[in-house]
């Protein structure tokens, strides 16, 4: 049980690490949101699952089970709150007219963002 918990926590920390590295390496606002908004969600979920398992490792009792349930409830809250916050920040970026960095001209053209910026004024 303890070994399983340690595997969960280490993989959680690994995803936190890639999220932070992505925040530093990616070129623009939106790509950075990609790295932090999601890597954190899975990282936090895996770390918290690991903690909940570790808490149960010393023997199963009612109080230990309650603490584990509380930890998993925190994970559920993160799963709802984190994407919502990511969406809100990204949308704020679009409303302010931050232009996405692209390698080539494909997808939605950047001129559309200019138009949207004019509309919102």
């Amino acid at each position: 049980m303890k070994i399983l918990a340690i595997i969960f926590i280490i993989s959680g920390v690994f995803f936190f690490f890639t999220a932070t590295l992505g925040l530093l390496r990616f070129p623009d606002f939106y790509s950075r949101m990609q790295a932090t908004g999601k890597g954190d969600t899975l990282g936090a979920f895996l770390s918290l699952t690991g903690l909940a398992l570790y808490n149960l490792a010393d023997g199963f009792s009612l109080s230990a089970a309650l603490v584990s349930i509380k930890i998993m409830l925190i994970a559920v809250v993160i799963f709802i709150a984190n994407p919502t916050a990511t969406h809100a920040i990204t949308r704020a970026g679009i409303d302010c007219g931050v232009e996405p960095w692209t390698k080539e001209e494909f997808g939605v053209q950047s001129s559309e963002f200019g138009a949207k910026k004019e509309e919102s004024r």
Binding site: T18, R25, S31, L42, S63, T86, T90, K103
Partner: protein, 159 residues
């Protein structure tokens, strides 16, 4: 009926968070849950009666969670590979995704699922169209197959 279900949900939360099972704390919980149930009974469930349909929806949503979790893990590994690759082969771009979902709850579920699978962020939702930021070509193609949309439509019976 919805009074009873709201009360049970609130009281279950009370018991989990307080962790004390003596008569004093339980009666405190019953009193405060009753007051909260009375004042906010129309927030959690907007309709008066429960139908068979809603129970199926909840069950299908529970079945949807493990699939979503697996997708999150797969695509997180994909993004981690992109970050750790020294060349960083990312192709960020915006795409517009048309959707046939109509109900508010299914649009919220779909948008949050898109954000949870790494590599895609729902940036804006206008009627029937999502503006999605994708980090690479692969995740955009995954999204455009419409597999996730079909599953969400299946949960909330919009097939």
């Amino acid at each position: 009926m919805r009074y009873i279900v709201t009360f049970i949900i609130l009281f279950l939360n009370w018991v989990i968070w307080s962790g004390m099972f003596d008569a004093f704390h339980l009666s405190l919980g019953i009193i405060s849950c009753a007051i909260v149930t009375y004042t906010t009974h129309d927030i959690l469930f907007t309709r008066e009666k429960f139908s068979y349909k809603q129970i199926i929806e909840v069950w299908r949503f529970i079945k949807y969670i493990p699939w979503l979790l697996w997708q999150i893990i797969l695509s997180n590994i994909h993004v981690a590979g992109l970050v750790l690759n020294p060349k960083m082969p990312i192709e960020p771009h915006m795409i517009r995704v048309k959707t046939r979902l109509k109900k508010d709850i299914s649009i919220v579920t779909y948008a949050n699922s898109i954000i949870l699978t790494p590599g895609t962020i729902t940036a804006d939702i206008t009627d029937g169209e999502f503006l999605v930021h994708c980090i690479s070509k692969k995740v955009a193609d995954d999204l455009l197959t419409g597999d996730m949309e079909n599953r969400v439509a299946h949960i909330f019976m919009e097939d």
